[in-house]
C-alpha cells in the first residue's frame, strides 16, 4: 500500500488536537508545541505533494478510497488535482503560520489550539475529499470550533454577536446546499455520493437549472457572495487573529471551491444558464466592498471588506466558465489566502500591542514594528495586483477569462472592465491604511511598544516569500493549476 499522504495531512492536526486535550490542565507551552508539530507535519507533506504531483499526467492523484457508509454509497475517497494541490498547500502554510502567530495566547491554550487544529482538519478534508457526503461533513466540521474560538477568545464587544451571525449564516448556506446534494444523489440514480462517478453523469437540464442556484449560492455564502457577505466583516472583527487568518485565508476558499466543484462541475448546464446573471452579484462584491473599505476607519474591517472584494474576483473567475478564468480563480484563491492571512496577522500584531484598531488613532508604527510594516506593504502590493506579486498573475487571468466569456453573455467584457477599475480602489484603501497606521508621527505613548517576536517574523517571512516567489516565477504555480483546470475541462467534454 502506498503511503496515505493525504490522510496524514488531514488527520495529523486532529491527532495533535486530541493529544492536546489529554494534557494536564496547567500546561501552557506543551499545547503550543504539539499544535506546531501537528500543523508542521501537514505543512511539510503539503509541500511534498506540491512537488511530487505529476503535472504531465494530471487528474486526481494521491487517491485513497475506503468504504465509509456503503449502505448509502458513500466512501472515504480523497484525491487532489492541480487545483486541490494548491489549496491543500495553502492550508498547510496558513495553519502552521496561524499556530505561530498565536503563541501569545495564554488564556486556556489547550482548548484554543485544539479547536484551531480541528478547524484545519475540516478545511483539509473539504479540499481533498471526493465524496459529497463526507465533503459536507468536513465542510461543516469547522462550525463548532469556529464558534467556540470566536466566542471565547474574540474581541469582547462584538464576539457573541459576530460568532452567532457567522455560524448561523454558514450553516444555513451549507444546509441549503445539502438539500441540493441529496437531490443530485436521488436524481442521478447511481446510488453513490462519489463525485468522480457523478461528474460523468449528465443530469436532466431542467433539474440542473432548478438546483444550480441553491447549491451554488448555498456554498458561496461561505465565500461571502453579495448580499450574503455581512457575516464576514463582523465575524473577522470579532475573531481572534489566528481565526481571522484561517477564515479569510482558507475557509472562504473552501466555500468558493466547493461551490465550483459541486455546482459548476456537476450541474454545468445550470451554470451556463445562471452564471451570466449570478456574475452581477460578484460585481457587487468588488464594487460595494471596495467602496466600504475606502471609507471605513477600523483597521480590521478594512481588511475584512478587502477580503470580500477579492472573493468577488475569485467567483468571477469561476463564472467565466473557461480555462483562463478558472486558472485565474484558483491562483487568486491561493494569492488571496496568503494576502488576507498576512494582513490579518499584521492587524493582530498592531492591535495586541496598542488595543486600538481605529486607523486615525494609530501612526508611525513602522518605527516600532518594522517587520509588520514590511509585511503589510508586501501583502498590500500583492493585493492591489502589482506586477511581481502573485496577485497580479491571478487578476490578469481572471479578467482575460471574463473578457473571453463574451460568448456566454455580451456583458462579460464590461464586467471585466468594471472590476479592473476596482483594483484602483484596492490601491487607494491599502495605501490609506498604510499611511495612517505605519507612517506619520508615532504617538509618544507607544514609544516603548514591544517589537514583533521571532515566531511572528518567521510567519511573515514565510508568507511574503510565497507571494513573491509565485509572482516572480509564475511557472511555479501556473502549470500545476492549469493541469488541474484542464483535467476538469476534459471531464466536461472541453466545455
Amino acid at each position: 500500500m502506498e503511503f496515505p499522504v493525504l490522510s496524514v495531512i488531514i488527520f495529523a492536526p486532529a491527532v495533535a488536537a486530541v493529544l492536546i486535550l489529554l494534557l494536564p490542565k496547567d500546561r501552557q507551552t506543551e499545547p503550543k508545541v504539539l499544535a506546531a508539530a501537528g500543523s508542521f507535519i501537514s505543512f511539510v507533506l503539503a509541500i511534498w505533494i506540491f512537488l511530487a504531483y505529476d503535472r504531465g499526467a494530471g487528474g486526481y492523484q494521491f487517491v485513497e478510497k475506503v468504504p465509509w457508509f456503503p449502505a448509502i454509497g458513500s466512501s472515504y475517497h480523497v484525491g487532489v488535482n492541480g487545483m486541490g494541490v494548491m489549496l491543500v498547500l495553502l492550508n498547510g502554510i496558513l495553519l502552521f503560520c496561524a499556530v505561530l502567530i498565536s503563541w501569545r495566547i495564554d488564556e486556556r491554550p489547550r482548548e484554543f489550539f485544539a479547536l484551531l487544529l480541528l478547524m484545519g482538519v475540516g478545511v483539509f478534508g473539504a479540499f481533498a475529499l471526493l465524496d459529497l457526503l463526507l465533503l459536507v461533513l468536513f465542510y461543516e466540521l469547522v462550525l463548532f470550533p469556529i464558534y467556540l474560538l470566536i466566542v471565547n477568545w474574540g474581541w469582547k464587544p462584538l464576539r457573541e454577536y459576530g460568532a452567532m451571525k457567522l455560524t448561523l449564516y454558514l450553516l444555513l448556506g451549507s444546509l441549503v446546499a445539502v438539500v441540493g446534494i441529496l437531490a443530485i444523489f436521488f436524481t442521478s440514480g447511481l446510488g453513490t455520493f462519489d463525485m468522480v462517478e457523478l461528474e460523468g453523469v449528465a443530469l436532466p437540464v431542467s433539474f440542473q437549472r432548478t438546483w444550480f442556484l441553491p447549491i451554488f449560492l448555498g456554498f458561496a455564502v461561505l465565500a461571502s457572495i453579495w448580499p450574503f457577505y455581512s457575516w464576514s466583516p463582523d465575524g473577522y472583527a470579532a475573531a481572534p487573529t489566528a481565526v481571522s487568518m484561517l477564515h479569510a485565508g482558507v475557509l472562504k476558499n473552501v466555500g468558493a471551491f466547493t461551490a465550483f466543484r459541486v455546482a459548476v462541475l456537476l450541474l454545468p448546464e445550470g451554470a451556463r444558464f445562471w452564471m451570466p446573471y449570478v456574475v452581477f452579484l460578484m460585481v457587487m462584491n468588488v464594487v460595494y466592498a471596495t467602496f466600504v473599505a475606502l471609507v471605513h476607519t477600523d483597521f480590521k474591517y478594512i481588511i475584512g471588506f478587502a477580503s470580500v472584494a477579492h472573493l468577488g474576483v475569485v467567483l468571477m473567475g469561476f463564472a467565466s466558465l473557461n480555462e483562463l478564468g478558472w486558472s485565474g480563480a484558483v491562483t487568486m484563491m491561493f494569492a488571496h489566502g496568503i494576502i488576507a492571512a498576512m494582513t490579518f496577522a499584521v492587524v493582530g500584531m498592531v492591535y495586541d500591542r496598542t488595543h486600538i484598531r481605529e486607523i486615525k488613532q494609530l501612526g508611525g508604527m513602522v518605527q516600532r514594528l518594522p517587520w509588520a510594516a514590511v509585511g503589510f506593504i508586501v501583502a498590500g502590493l500583492a493585493s492591489m495586483g502589482m506586477p511581481g506579486f502573485l496577485g497580479f498573475i491571478a487578476e490578469v487571468q481572471v479578467f482575460l477569462g471574463l473578457w473571453r466569456a463574451a460568448d456566454l453573455a455580451p456583458w462579460y467584457p464590461v464586467i471585466a472592465i468594471i472590476s479592473a477599475v476596482g483594483i484602483v480602489g484596492t490601491a487607494a484603501y491599502t495605501l490609506r491604511a498604510l499611511q495612517y497606521v505605519f507612517l506619520g508621527k508615532l504617538n509618544p505613548k507607544y514609544a516603548d511598544l514591544p517589537g514583533t517576536s521571532t515566531l511572528d517574523k518567521v510567519a511573515l517571512v514565510l508568507m511574503s516569500a510565497v507571494l513573491i516567489l509565485g509572482g516572480v516565477f509564475p511557472f511555479l504555480v501556473t502549470p500545476i493549476v492549469q493541469s488541474g483546470v484542464q483535467s476538469v475541462l476534459a471531464l466536461l467534454g472541453g466545455a
Binding site: 457508509f69 449502505a71 459536507v136 457573541e160 438539500v179
Partner: protein, 480 residues
C-alpha cells in the same frame, strides 16, 4: 380463534425480554426490602446490570418471526431495534438516578421505572389494538407515578397531576378511536383491521385514525398534544425527565410507525399530507418557544418537541428509508438527550438551580462535564462530526427521496433556529465566568459511566454511523 393453538411454549421466546423485565422488577423490589438503608443506592446498579442482561438477551436470543399469542405480539426485527433502544435508555437512566439525591435510595422508584419499560417493550411489539392499549396504559401509569414521585416538591406533584390529566384525556380519546376501528372492522389484530378498513367508509376510518393519533401524539409530544411537556419536564425529577424525553418518546414512535405502516396504508395520501403539516408545525413551534427559555429543562422540553418534529419527517416520508431514518435518529436522540440531562443532574446537585445561567463557568469547573453538555447540544443542533448531523441528514434524505422538498426546507430553517439556542447555552458554559468557577464539580462514578458512554456514542455514531444504520436498515426490511 377456535381451532388455533391456545398456547405454544415457543411464544414465550417472543416476550422473553418482557418476562425478564418483570422478574427483574420483582428482584429489585425484593432486594430493596433486604438492603439496609445506607446501601440502597446500589439498587441502581442492580437495575442497570439487570437491564444490561435483558438488553443482551433481547439482542442475542433467537426469536420466532411469526406472531405469538394468537396475533397479540410480533417481535419482528424493527420492534426489537426499538426494544433495545428503550432498554439502553433504561440502563442509562438507572445509572443516572444513582446520582440524583432525592431518588437514589428508593426501591419502588427503580421498580416503577422497570414497569414502565416493560410497557414500552410491549408497545414496540404489539400487533393488536387491545394489546397496544394495555401496553400504553402500563407505560403511562408508571410514568405518571414517576413524574410525581417527589411528593414534597410541589413542582413534581403538580407535574405528575398535569401529566396524568393530560394523559388520561388523550388516552380516552384514543380508546374511543380504537373502539371505532373495532366497530368498523370487527377485529383487533392489525392485519384484520387493515384488511377490513379498505372496505370501510373513508371518513369514519379517518376519524378513527385521528383519534388514535391523539394518543400517539401525546407520547411523542407532537403539536398540538405537546402542552404538557414544559411543565412536566421542568417539574419531574431530572432522571425521569430524561426517561420520558427519550424512552417514552421512542415508544410512541414505535407504535406510530407500526400502526401507520400496517393499519392505515389504505388512507394513503391524506395522512401523509397531515403528517407533513404536523411535522412542520411541531418542529417550528418547538424551536421558537425553546429560544425564550431560561430554565434548561424547559428549554430541553421544547427542544424535544422540535426533535419529535424532525423525526416526524421520517414518518411522513412513509418509505423504508424514512422509517429506518426515524428509528436511527431515535437511537442517536436517546444517547444525546441522556448526555444532556446527566449534566443537568450534576450541575443542579451542586448549584441547586436549573437556570441556564447557573451553567456559567462550567467549562472551568469541569472539562468533562462541559464537553458532555457541549457534545449533546451540538449533536442536537446537527453539527458534524456529532451523531445528530448524520441522523438529520438521513432523515432529510428520506424526505427528499419521497419528494417532500418543502418539508426539508422547513427542516433546514428549523435547524438554524435550534442552533441559535443550543449555541447560547454553549456560550454560557464556555465563555461566561462565575464566582464559583474555581470549585471543581465532583462527578460520581455512575455519572462518569453514563457520560463517558453517551459522549463516545455521540462521536462514534457521528463519524462511523454505518454499522448501526445498517442494523436498523436491515431490520426495516421486514416491513417492506
Amino acid at each position: 380463534m377456535g381451532g388455533e393453538t391456545v398456547f405454544n411454549a415457543i411464544w414465550l421466546l417472543t416476550i422473553l425480554p418482557e418476562l425478564l423485565l418483570l422478574i427483574l422488577a420483582l428482584i429489585v423490589l425484593g432486594v430493596d426490602l433486604a438492603l439496609p438503608a445506607e446501601r440502597k443506592r446500589s439498587l441502581g446498579v442492580w437495575t442497570a446490570a439487570g437491564l444490561v442482561i435483558v438488553l443482551l438477551v433481547s439482542l442475542l436470543a433467537p426469536v420466532p418471526e411469526e406472531a405469538a399469542f394468537g396475533g397479540l405480539v410480533r417481535a419482528d426485527p424493527l420492534g426489537r431495534v426499538f426494544r433495545a433502544m428503550f432498554l439502553l435508555g433504561g440502563v442509562l437512566v438507572a445509572l443516572m438516578s444513582m446520582d440524583f439525591r432525592p431518588l437514589r435510595q428508593d426501591g419502588p422508584y427503580y421498580g416503577m421505572l422497570l414497569f414502565s419499560l416493560l410497557g414500552m417493550c410491549l408497545m414496540a411489539v404489539a400487533e393488536n389494538l387491545v394489546m397496544l392499549y394495555v401496553a400504553m396504559e402500563l407505560t403511562s401509569i408508571s410514568a405518571y407515578v414517576l413524574v410525581g414521585y417527589l411528593r414534597e416538591d410541589t413542582f413534581s406533584a403538580e407535574a405528575g397531576l398535569k401529566y396524568m390529566l393530560f394523559g388520561a384525556f388523550t388516552s380516552a380519546v384514543m380508546l374511543y378511536g380504537l373502539s371505532l376501528l373495532f366497530g368498523l372492522t370487527g377485529g383487533t389484530g392489525y392485519m384484520e383491521v387493515a384488511a377490513a378498513l379498505r372496505e370501510a367508509p373513508f371518513s369514519l376510518a379517518m376519524v378513527g385514525f385521528l383519534m388514535v393519533l391523539v394518543g400517539f401524539g401525546f407520547k411523542v409530544a407532537m403539536v398540538p398534544m405537546h402542552f404538557w411537556t414544559p411543565d412536566v419536564y421542568q417539574g419531574a425529577p431530572t432522571p425521569v425527565t430524561a426517561f420520558i424525553s427519550v424512552a417514552s418518546k421512542a415508544a410512541g414512535f414505535a407504535v406510530m410507525l407500526r400502526a401507520f405502516r400496517f393499519i392505515f396504508p389504505s388512507l394513503g395520501g391524506e395522512w401523509v399530507a397531515l403528517m407533513v403539516a404536523i411535522s412542520a408545525v411541531t418542529m417550528t413551534l418547538g424551536n421558537i418557544f425553546a429560544v425564550w427559555q431560561k430554565n434548561i429543562k424547559r428549554m430541553l422540553a421544547y427542544s424535544s418537541v422540535a426533535q419529535a418534529g424532525y423525526i416526524l419527517i421520517g414518518v411522513a416520508a412513509a418509505s423504508r428509508l424514512g422509517i429506518a431514518a426515524a428509528a436511527f435518529y431515535l437511537i442517536i436522540y436517546t444517547v444525546t438527550n441522556i448526555a444532556a440531562f446527566a449534566t443537568v443532574v450534576l450541575v443542579s446537585n451542586l448549584t441547586g438551580s436549573e437556570d441556564i445561567e447557573s451553567f456559567a463557568g462550567l467549562s472551568r469547573r469541569s472539562k468533562f462535564l462541559a464537553w458532555g453538555l457541549m457534545l449533546a447540544l451540538f449533536s442536537l443542533g446537527g453539527v458534524p462530526p456529532f451523531a445528530g448531523f448524520i441522523g438529520k441528514l438521513i432523515l432529510f434524505a428520506g424526505a427528499v427521496q419521497s419528494g417532500l422538498i418543502a418539508l426539508v426546507v422547513i427542516g433546514v430553517l428549523n435547524v438554524i433556529v435550534s442552533l441559535y439556542y443550543y449555541l447560547n447555552v454553549a456560550k454560557v458554559v464556555f465563555e461566561r465566568r462565575s464566582e464559583e468557577e474555581e470549585e471543581p464539580v465532583p462527578i460520581p462514578v455512575p455519572s462518569r459511566w453514563v457520560l463517558g458512554f453517551t459522549m463516545a456514542a455521540i462521536v462514534i455514531l457521528g463519524v462511523l454511523a454505518a454499522p448501526v444504520f445498517n442494523w436498523v436498515w436491515r431490520a426495516s426490511g421486514a416491513w417492506f
